[in-house]
């Protein structure tokens, strides 16, 4: 195994161990129901986190995704209510909008040399603000096409369901892996994260790549918003608050370095699963007060990150002479 695979392997090992531990305490955790829930309930987070992985690998950050998810939901709901457009048309429209929104942020980041943290923070305010302007009330979606989509699922043995949105997440992760590891764009993303100045000297098209990365993240946030609206059949301007932080945590637990340049999309998937597992465990336990819930989530997060670091560190020592740490 290569050193670069270590963080991912560590995440995988931790997930399996943690799941095993949960199982010994609550045998019901191993039902297909819980597995199906893990996929369905975290679908929107998983999709958004894939976009976040690209951004973070490139050395940036995107704080706007939670707001974009909310905006997407409200946009879809309002459009379906006020116009006679078919949901698919609206989906295409909203994806175009969020993709452009991301691209615009990328352009500002690159051409005006502004830090991504701040640009996407402004994007975060803007997207949620626009959602408010569209509608402060939560708008239900009652189009029958939504019912059709929601009824697509594969019933696993044991009553668990693999739903459409769970499937969309898995496909997104698959495509994300393909783009990250098997395209020139993907290589350029890693190059950017390895050092922008160097990447420039090596002839990487910095502008196009930066804009592309944030456009992709915007697109996936839009897709995540669509999935979220399928999940809740509504658009609500206050939904998905703080999803960006969950996504960042998932990406980091998945073994991607926030400094950029290294990470795996597949790791992010398991990072999302670990986040989902923490929540499921807390709910199964059911004895924690509101505040202990927060504290325990924080501590488990810390535990996973330390474990991840520890495992990576311990096994990298087994790999011959010290590697340069840049």
């Amino acid at each position: 195994m290569k050193t670069r695979h270590l963080p991912f392997a560590a995440t995988l090992v931790i997930f399996i161990l943690a799941y095993g531990l949960c199982y010994t305490q609550f045998p019901a955790m191993l039902s297909t129901r819980v597995i199906g829930n893990l996929l369905t309930d975290n679908a929107f987070l998983g999709i958004a986190a894939v976009g976040m992985t690209f951004v973070i690998i490139s050395g940036g950050i995107d704080l706007s995704i939670g707001s974009v998810i909310a905006f997407t939901g409200v946009f879809i709901a309002v459009m379906l209510k006020t116009t006679g457009l078919h949901p698919l048309t609206v989906f295409a429209l909203v994806l175009a909008v969020t993709c452009l929104f991301g691209a615009a942020m990328g352009a500002v980041i690159h051409f005006l040399e502004m830090p991504p943290f701040i640009v996407t923070l402004a994007g975060m305010f803007l997207a949620r603000g626009l959602a408010f302007v569209l509608s402060t009330d939560s708008v239900p979606i009652s189009h029958e096409f939504y019912g059709t989509l929601q009824d697509i699922f594969w019933r696993m043995p044991g009553k668990g369901r693999l739903t459409l949105i769970g499937g969309i997440m898995l496909v997104t992760v698959g495509l994300g892996m393909l783009i990250a590891h098997r395209t020139r764009f993907g290589a350029n993303v890693y190059a950017l994260g390895g050092g922008q100045a160097t990447a420039r000297l090596m002839g990487v098209p910095i502008a196009a790549t930066t804009v592309g990365i944030y456009a992709l993240s915007g697109f996936l946030a839009g897709l995540s918003g669509i999935v979220f609206s399928l999940y809740t059949s509504a658009g609500y301007s206050l939904s998905a608050v703080g999803v960006e932080l969950d996504a960042i945590a998932a990406v980091v637990i998945g073994g991607t370095l926030l400094t950029g340049g290294s990470g795996y999309i597949a790791g992010t998937l398991f990072g999302v699963f670990i986040m989902g597992l923490i929540q499921t465990y807390i709910i199964f336990d059911g004895s924690l007060s509101s505040w202990w819930t927060k504290i325990v989530i924080g501590l488990l997060l810390l535990l996973f990150i330390l474990l991840q670091k520890g495992l990576t560190w311990a096994s990298s020592r087994g790999f011959g002479p010290a590697h340069r740490t840049a």
Binding site: I61, F111, L112, E113, M114, P115, F117, I118, V119, L121, A122, G123, F125, L126, R128, G129, L130, F132, V133, T136, G195, Q196, A197, R200, L201, L245, I248, A249, V252, L257, L258, T259, S289, S290, W291, W292, T293, K294, I295, V296, I297, G298, L299, L301, L302, I305, L306, K309
Partner: protein, 341 residues
């Protein structure tokens, strides 16, 4: 990166200009905006409100500036505010001593900073994640102390910190200005400032030069914790109660914004506390102006976002370079090739 040789006044020109524009805009929308008078033995007016309401963000921005200078970030300051407010309220209701309450709150703030600093400097966890942990758990801890309620208190001395006035100047204003002045003295009259900048730009090289970067990092996070503790105490004193759920909620973002608007780069290194204070005041002016403008609240965020974007555009060196082709020779575009890691 502003050259140090340029005039200090010129250095803050973009920030001062922005502040004046925001204030001017509000004044034109609302004529009484600039009036300041004395009522009830204290200064009274929208400008005073800005200074007063801006206290928490200004205080947080002091610590945040130093943290950002080390190439870090502290997302937990909002939660630390809540914890320290809760500690102060709980102490004052049980012991009745404001002094004890404040002392304990500050100690807890330092402890929170220590925790963050150890995670960052010793455990080597990236700052954004290390402090995210306390951001999530901290509010829980605060609620644990208050048990989810708003812990109200009536102790006059403690309340004085939030809504009292000294020489007709509201106390929060005096506190944040004093804190900022002390911080500036601390970093610029000692070598702390330069060492912080050094580890922010190249921690490895600084360590190799004998700088005790680990301890320094921990200290910086502790300063951030201390500032958050002061802010938290003021916020609790202001409403005579510790609101664990909402005190300092999302204020970390405002503080970061203040630092960036003030001219400190998120990439670490050169920092300016004075700039951050101006940044905090700019943000508070925007907030106060929105409140006083009378727009429906659903537009608040859009307006704020647009103003922020505008401010950042005004301050973007790249844009300025692009707009002034004559001076492009001296543009900073290319320097990044050498300067960036």
């Amino acid at each position: 990166m502003t050259r140090q040789t340029s005039l200090p006044g010129l250095r803050y020109a973009p920030q001062i200009l922005t502040l004046l524009v925001v204030l001017g805009l509000s004044a034109s929308l609302f004529p009484g905006f600039l009036n300041v008078e004395i009522a009830n033995g204290r200064l009274y007016g929208s400008l005073i409100d800005i200074l007063n309401r801006g206290a928490p963000v200004a205080l947080l921005a002091i610590g945040m500036t130093l943290v950002i200078a080390t190439k870090g970030i502290d997302l937990s300051v909002g939660a630390v505010m809540a914890i320290c407010g809760a500690v102060a309220a709980a102490t004052v209701t049980t012991t009745g001593s404001a002094l004890q309450a404040v002392a304990l709150a500050l100690a807890v703030g330092l402890a929170c900073g220590l925790w963050n600093g150890v995670l960052v400097a010793v455990a080597g966890i990236q700052p954004i994640i290390a402090t995210l942990i306390l951001m999530v758990a901290g509010r829980g801890i605060a609620q644990l102390i208050t048990e989810g309620t708003i812990l109200t208190f009536t102790n006059e001395s403690l309340v004085f910190l939030g809504s009292g006035a000294l020489l007709s100047m509201p106390t929060p204003i005096l506190i944040w200005i004093t804190a900022a002045a002390l911080a500036m003295l601390l970093v610029r009259r000692t070598a702390l400032g330069m060492l912080i900048e050094a580890i922010g730009i190249n921690r490895r090289a600084s360590t190799l030069s004998g700088v005790n970067s680990g301890i320094l990092l921990v200290c910086v996070y502790m300063i951030a914790g201390l500032c958050a503790a002061v802010a938290g105490t003021i916020a609790a004193a202001d409403i005579k109660g510790a609101d664990a759920n909402n005190a300092g909620l999302w204020l970390e973002l405002d503080a970061i914004l203040a630092v960036v608007i003030g001219g400190t780069s998120l990439l670490g290194g050169r920092f300016t506390l004075l700039g951050s204070m101006l940044g905090a005041m700019i943000i508070q002016s925007v907030n106060t102006s929105i409140l006083i403008s009378g727009f429906p609240p659903e537009f608040n965020l859009v307006i704020k976002a647009l103003i922020i974007i505008l401010i950042l555009l005004i301050q973007s060196p790249a844009l300025r370079a692009r707009l002034k082709p004559v001076r492009r020779k001296q543009g900073q575009g290319e320097t990044s090739i050498l300067v960036k890691p």
